[in-house]
């Protein structure tokens, strides 16, 4: 398909601002009279605030006021594990209790030290399994788990059940959640090889580079909130509710966000933005709340850790007959997520298990705030399943690429507990492309070859995430000068999808890109609602909306041309910034002429009449504010069918040094399968970026909390072991399949998350390969674990440890 814009690179309009330092993040703003807010956070993992004496602080020079949980929740804090704006019952070290505004940060810190907070210490727990033990501490005051619509419960297993799980057996307790399909027992009975074992994957923080500072002020009854988010309109719509201001009175400003990775997509993940808003209202001054790196660690979100058990059965020919998973998710001190369910769902899609059972339970620990993180669930299970596949291949005498090709998802396949059809799936092409680029047949012969103390490991990995949603809205305008304004509510978190999805609108109108203005960045530019920018969905969801809005505009443009030049709209074509008669190209109107005519005509042409009924309320508000300003295309996207997937296939060769436990990545080939490629450079960035995240998951990053006092040991960048450039290969080879998906007008699907899972899977498989197929059943696998394994040291091993070393 030859497109004007789709599949071509361009310079998104925010890039010059990023390289010149001109683009502003929340912390970069200033305003006359601005004061600085800093947080007082809990030093105790679980406590109740009995009393707050801020009198000394409030009497200090340069202090303007404080905001407490009582201010924010006059009717009591909401029930549940969701992160609170402020709280009087912290359930993790670092949870914000109050905020203080002062003339500068130094004064704020000194004043905060003068506040006397009296705490009642409550029991705390760092490992969810310890909480399940009889008499074990509960992370929350009501229990150790929160069941939707039922409330807090204290779930306990018997001592035997806990011991058996720790020893690696299948849990026998009743799960909170489960699904199953197929004939599980029969499938295992037909298996020639069965793998069974427990596993543990670490949670770790998102650590977006931009801390979630926020800046707020009120003017003429309107709240101006400079925030940070992955989404723009999706988050703003809900933020208004959290702050308690009507949506018409909120202007949410967010030109760029310094990384989201799942924890800035929804207002519920980032309630701290309400703090400067409410404090500003209270003290009548602009408030800049700066969040420090340590605070970003605690409230900024983290992945759920898994402690689980898995059993996989493979037939003699290598087909995955059955998969049975029991996953205990670490819900942390606040937040949570459906990671475990997603992990099982992912296995059913990537490996097409004929029968499957999933059982899962979420238990809290007084550790970090948990929430969706780049492939939540799908990516935790990636490093676990990959070595199991390789072990099955070895046992059955199959090549490890062959076993994956035998089980991979293809066009027509279904997945998940509902057996939902995939909209399309080109995993065969992805694996073949990767194998060719990697020269798999040659490299695989070097598996386990030794060169002194170094040994080669080869790994193949696959990643998946659902990659598209629908039901959102689009708005485009044809201005009187003939330029196209694409109103895009997509957030700018570094994926450039706010711009690349706008290309779909330009494509419909064959509009040169330099004649297009993407209107985004702040809600007072009147933008449509979009889905949150998480779950790899934006490209799919918003090319649908922008395409649809542009089609609506095109229909109106042709109507205008027919009105003025005769005939019916069907007689007209678009091209060269004109609408012209197909049969007589000389008869036509320029875009500018049509834009002006539309403005004259008003009514339905300018959003003043016949606005689609099913538009989201947020979009309706934006349309009402734009009405009468220009010729408009307005669109509400109906629902798509089936499950549009994002896939990645990765091949990796490492050289592992058996004397140091360290490895070098010799070659990394990663192939994206995400339908039609809309923005090649953008896709490449998601592939290499996901690769770095995959390396972090498999080899470096983990939460560490001291069980003696509940303090986090790994708060900053250094201790958190965020991958550096020297921990990643010098060149990552990328490729993409670029075949269209039928549920999207340009054939596109998303990619941001599977690009991580595939690399994590491949890397863990390669490490395992280098160690003669030893399965750690853990992530990350760090140098000390490798050294201990090679030296036969088992004293430090704690197989199901969570928030701690695994040995």
């Amino acid at each position: 398909m030859a497109y004007m814009h789709i599949g071509k690179d361009f310079v998104p309009q925010d890039v010059p601002g990023k390289v010149t330092g001109r683009i502003k993040y929340s912390e970069d703003y200033a305003r006359d009279g601005m004061v600085y807010a800093r947080l007082l956070t809990s030093p105790i993992p679980h406590a109740r605030v009995v009393n707050i004496d801020a009198s000394a602080a409030l009497a200090m020079e340069g202090v303007f006021g404080i905001l407490t949980a009582d201010d924010v929740y006059p009717d009591g804090e909401p029930d549940g594990t969701g992160l609170k704006i402020l709280t009087n019952e912290p359930t993790l070290v670092g949870e914000p209790i109050l905020a203080l505004a002062a003339v500068d940060e130094k004064t704020a810190e000194t004043a905060l030290e003068a506040i006397i907070v009296t705490f009642e210490r409550l029991p705390f727990v760092m490992d969810p399994v310890d909480s399940l033990a009889p008499g074990g501490p509960d992370a929350y005051t009501g229990g150790n788990t929160f069941v939707f619509r039922e409330g807090f419960k204290s779930e306990k297993w018997t001592a035997d059940q806990v011991a058996a799980f720790r020893a690696g057996s299948e849990p026998t307790a009743e799960p909170q959640q489960q699904f199953a399909y197929g004939e599980l027992e029969a499938a295992f009975a037909s298996s020639a090889y069965i793998y069974e074992g427990s596993f543990a994957t670490a949670g770790y923080p998102h650590h977006s580079m931009e801390p979630r500072s926020a800046f707020a002020y009120w003017e003429n009854g309107k709240l101006y909130l400079h925030g940070t988010s992955q989404s723009l309109t999706a988050l703003a719509a809900d933020m208004a509710g959290i702050v308690g201001v009507p949506i018409e009175d909120l202007v949410f400003i967010n030109e760029a966000t310094g990384g989201g990775f799942g924890q800035r997509a929804r207002a519920g993940s980032i309630p701290s933005m309400a703090i400067p808003a409410k404090l500003s209202q209270k003290i009548n001054r602009p408030v800049m709340m700066r969040v420090t790196r340590e605070e970003e660690f605690t409230i900024g979100g983290a992945r759920q850790g898994f402690q689980g058990w898995i059993k996989c059965g493979f037939k003699a020919d290598g087909v995955m007959a059955a998969a049975d998973m029991w996953i205990l998710s670490d819900n942390g001190g606040k937040g949570g997520g459906g990671d475990a369910f997603s992990a099982a769902d992912c296995i059913s899609i990537l490996y097409q298990a004929e029968a499957m059972r999933f059982r899962g339970t979420s238990i809290g620990s007084n550790t970090a705030h948990r929430g969706a993180q780049r492939g939540p669930g799908q990516n935790q299970i990636a490093p676990i399943i990959a070595p199991i596949l390789d072990k099955a291949a070895a046992e059955l005498g199959l090549d490890r690429l062959a076993i994956r090709m035998l089980n991979m998802p293809k066009n027509g396949d279904v997945g998940g507990p509902q057996r939902q059809p995939l909209t399309s799936a080109y995993m065969p092409e992805a694996l073949n492309m990767g194998a060719t680029m990697f020269n798999y047949p040659e490299r695989i012969t070097r598996s386990r070859q030794r060169k002194g103390s170094k040994v080669t490991g080869i790994g193949v990995g696959e990643g998946y995430h659902n990659a598209g949603r629908s039901g959102m809205d689009g708005i485009v305008r044809l201005m009187p000068d003939g330029r196209l304004a694409v109103h895009n509510g997509v957030g700018n978190l570094g994926t450039y999808s706010y711009a690349s999805t706008s290309r779909a609108a330009a494509e419909v109108l064959q509009m040169p890109w330099e004649r297009v203005d993407v209107i985004s960045g702040r809600t007072d530019r009147h933008l449509p609602i979009t889905s949150p920018q998480d779950g790899s969905n934006s490209i799919f969801t918003n090319t649908r909306t922008n395409w649809g809005a542009a089609q609506d505009l095109l229909v109106k443009m042709k109507e205008i041309a027919a009105m003025d030049l005769g005939g019916t709209p069907a007689d007209y074509s678009v091209g060269d910034e004109r609408i012209f008669k197909t049969a007589d190209t000389t008869s036509g109107m320029t875009f500018a002429e049509i834009g002006q005519r539309g403005l004259q005509l008003g009514g339905k042409f300018t959003g003043e009449a016949e606005v689609p009924e099913d538009l989201n309320d947020f979009t309706k508000l934006s349309v009402s504010r734009l009405a009468g300003s220009a010729l408009m295309g307005i669109f509400h996207d109906p629902r798509h069918n089936n499950n549009p997937p994002g896939f990645t296939a990765t091949f990796i060769e490492i050289e592992l040094d058996t004397e140091t436990g360290k490895f070098d990545i010799i070659e990394l080939v990663t192939i994206g399968e995400c339908g039609t490629v809309v923005h090649p450079q953008g896709l490449k960035n998601q592939l290499v970026g996901g690769a770095v995240w995959g390396i972090g998951l498999s080899a470096l990053e983990q939460h560490l909390y001291d069980p003696q006092n509940g303090l986090p040991a790994s708060t900053g960048y250094w201790q958190s072991k965020v991958p550096t450039i020297l921990d990643t290969p010098s060149k990552i080879q990328t490729g993409w399949v670029d075949l269209p998906d039928p549920e999207n007008p340009v054939g596109a699907r998303g990619i941001g998350e599977p690009s991580m899972g595939a690399v994590s899977a491949a890397l863990t498989a390669a490490i395992s390969d280098a160690l003669d197929g030893h399965v750690f059943n853990a992530a990350p696998i760090t140098a000390d674990m490798i050294l201990n394994h090679l030296a036969g040291i088992t004293t430090d091993a704690v197989p199901l440890a969570q928030n701690n070393y695994r040995g």
Binding site: P43, E109, L112, I115, L700, D784
Partner: protein, 333 residues
């Protein structure tokens, strides 16, 4: 109880003396209340966290006499305020004392090396995360160790020389200078002391709150490296979790005189296994006069780890230390 994350520099005075006498007078007057500032890369974190509260900083970077690398009668002298980047890139150091160039080049990250000084790298404080967090442990003047406990997170801590405190020496250059038989030049208002590198560092059995023997009012002003090991065979290796920024899990710095495959003499020190750079004298004795071989390397490794007493999470340091010593004996990875 500290309930806010401290993140900005508190009020503190700054002195920028331009001559030695002035600097020494300030150090003498202020004592421990005057924080000696080289590049500051192990300073501002403490001060921002408000876990250390000196009254003033005495910045030493404007004292030319304490900067630079020069030849002296029987070796070279490096001013303590010389940056690590300058040392790593210096032709003289690279050609004659490559061990130190390598060690300096492995410290932290490029930007930290660009302002961080050799002196600062040598006198830097322990990196035990409990201590750094401001808890009241022995090293902080209290009477408990959080790391040396049944549940302590002590993966990065010591396997030798524990004495209530189990923090390790985090410096990359320290083991190199111990191997090179360097001498520390220490000055104060009352005069100058010359201290062998090995005696410059001190463990918790003798002093649990300080990492070096520097008294209040004393400044490390220069490091002298004798000709003894110039152009010898060097082996430096640092194993850390990440390949930049991270402190060593274990490091090794070795100098050897080898002739015809026979190790005539050797000095080896390991970092990050003890509170001080650990000189492996027993290994050196076993190597002296022996033919280099894999068998010799294995013997040396076994001697190196003798007496190690791992904690709950750092057993891996034993095989890692053994392997690094093996590689040092082999002369290659």
């Amino acid at each position: 109880m500290v309930a806010t994350s401290h993140d900005v520099m508190p009020d503190i005075e700054l002195y920028q003396p331009t001559d030695e006498a002035n600097a020494l007078a300030l150090a003498g007057t202020l004592g421990r209340d005057g924080w000696l500032l080289g590049g500051g890369q192990d300073t501002f974190g403490w001060l921002k966290d408000r876990n250390k509260t000196p009254a003033a900083m005495i910045e030493l970077t404007q004292i030319d006499a304490w900067k630079g690398i020069k030849e002296i009668a029987d070796g070279i002298e490096i001013g303590a305020v010389t940056t690590l980047t300058e040392i790593a890139n210096n032709p003289l150091v690279q050609s004659r004392y490559g061990l130190l160039a390598q060690a300096a080049g492995h410290v932290a990250s490029p930007q930290i090396r660009n302002v961080g000084t050799l002196g600062g790298n040598l006198v830097q404080d322990a990196r035990c995360w409990y201590y750094r967090r401001g808890l009241d442990c022995y090293r902080a003047g209290g009477n408990i160790c959080y790391a040396d406990s049944p549940q302590g997170l002590n993966r990065e801590h010591a396997i030798f020389g524990a004495s209530r405190c189990v923090a390790v020496s985090p410096s990359d250059t320290a083991p190199a200078l111990v191997a090179l038989e360097a001498t520390m030049v220490v000055q104060s208002e009352s005069g100058q002391r010359l201290i062998p590198a090995q005696d410059f560092f001190v463990g918790p059995a003798r002093d649990i709150v300080n990492m070096t023997v520097l008294n209040a009012g004393e400044i490390l002003t220069a490091i002298r490296i004798p000709n003894t090991w110039a152009n010898a065979e060097f082996y430096f290796e640092k194993v850390a979790d990440r390949n930049v920024w991270d402190f060593a899990l274990v490091s090794v710095a070795a100098v050897m005189k080898v002739s015809g495959g026979v190790i005539e003499d050797a000095r080896i020190a390991c970092g990050a296994v003890e509170c001080v750079p650990r000189r492996l004298e027993a290994v050196e004795n076993a190597l002296r006069g022996q033919q280099r071989s894999e068998q010799l390397a294995n013997q040396a490794a076994a001697i190196a780890s003798e007496g190690a007493r791992p904690l709950n999470y750092n057993h891996f340091k034993v095989p890692l230390m053994e392997n690094l010593v093996k590689r040092a004996v082999r002369g290659q990875a």
